[in-house]
């Protein structure tokens, strides 16, 4: 399950992410996908996904962005 989640994120990063065409849309460092990847590695699928989801919700026009590690 954990492996599947991590593979899916890797697939997104390689083939779907807008960063591939040079558009960097994330306000945070590390970016939302890297953050979620690390969170799943650290806390497991359930808690990691929740943490990742919360991060994506925070990544909106009204937040400040910046450095925000797992």
């Amino acid at each position: 399950m954990k492996k599947l989640a991590l593979t899916l994120i890797k697939f997104y990063q390689r083939h779907l992410s807008l960063i591939n065409i040079g558009i960097d849309i994330c306000k945070y460092e590390p970016s939302c996908s890297v953050y979620t990847y690390q969170a799943i590695e650290k806390y497991g699928v359930t808690k990691g996904c929740i943490k990742g989801l919360w991060r994506i919700i925070r990544c909106n026009p009204f937040s400040k962005g910046g450095y925000d590690p797992v």
Binding site: D24, C26, N60, S63, G66
Partner: protein, 261 residues
């Protein structure tokens, strides 16, 4: 979840498309106008990210310097990077949530276009239309002819498909950053990470047109017209913010050829 999706996203979008059709009674024209409208509505979201891309390319030497200086203090690094962006008048991008919402809207747009071309029961569409004047009457059949096309079937002559493939390829090329020949030589060996990102980017330039070719052979041509107009809009947007990009050498060659003759 399904009802929420219909209520907030799908129904409003379908209403706009059906209203356009009822006003023009030409499905092809309504799809084109509709796509342009959607793209215009998305400009405020896309513009900051596109501007940022251009600035990032310009500021790359400065950014590299900062990276070198604050290698060990990531907190400080992110802060300094933002300061540099702000000083140069770049607004931070709209963020990941906004782009996810945009993708969801694009799925709804796609579904609205394909539901009109795929010959879904008109009653089902009628149920979603807010204004009675825009509802379809009984026994009505949507006029699906546009130029030589039957919008509910794939393009038999592959003209629309061909245009989609070419336009998508050109857009992909434009998205690549343009590096002057001399600069290329002078540049130090890029880090492994940069190299990988660049190779994936190059790979995508060929992947997406191939995908469009397959779409063109299977999807209704109405949907393909939507894809073509949408890609054209992206191309125009990309030209406006970052110029010809990776296409620059080709454009130069074209002009040079003219001068020579």
């Amino acid at each position: 979840m399904g009802t929420l999706w219909n209520l907030i996203i799908y129904n409003p979008i379908l209403n706009i498309l059906v209203s356009l059709y009822q006003l023009t009674s030409n499905l092809g024209i309504s799809i084109i106008v509709f796509t342009v409208l959607v793209r215009v509505a998305m400009i405020p979201v896309m513009a900051p990210a596109m501007k940022m891309r251009k600035k990032q390319q310009e500021l790359k030497p400065k950014l590299d310097k900062i990276k070198e200086k604050y290698k060990d203090d990531k907190m400080k690094l992110a802060e300094k990077q933002m300061d540099l962006m702000k000083q140069n008048g770049v607004n931070p991008s709209a963020g990941c949530l906004t782009s996810i919402i945009m993708i969801v809207v694009m799925i709804a747009v796609y579904r609205a276009v394909s539901s009109l071309t795929n010959g879904i029961a008109l009653e089902e569409i009628n149920n979603r239309i807010y204004l009675d004047t825009f509802k379809f009457t009984d026994n009505y059949s949507i006029n699906k002819n546009f130029l030589y096309l039957d919008l509910s079937k794939p393009d038999p002559y592959y003209v629309v498909t061909g245009i989609a493939v070419i336009v998508q390829f050109l857009t992909g090329m434009m998205m690549l950053p343009y590096v002057e020949e001399e600069e290329k030589k002078a540049e130090k060996t890029p880090s492994e990470m940069d190299d990988m990102a660049a190779s994936i980017q190059k790979q995508n330039i060929f992947m997406t047109p191939i995908m469009f070719l397959i779409f063109g052979m299977t999807l209704p041509s109405g949907v393909m017209i939507y894809i073509v107009v949408s890609t054209l809009a992206q191309l125009a947007q990309s030209y406006h913010y970052t110029g010809w990009g990776g296409l620059t050498p080709w454009i130069k060659r074209l002009k040079f050829g003219n001068v020579k003759s």
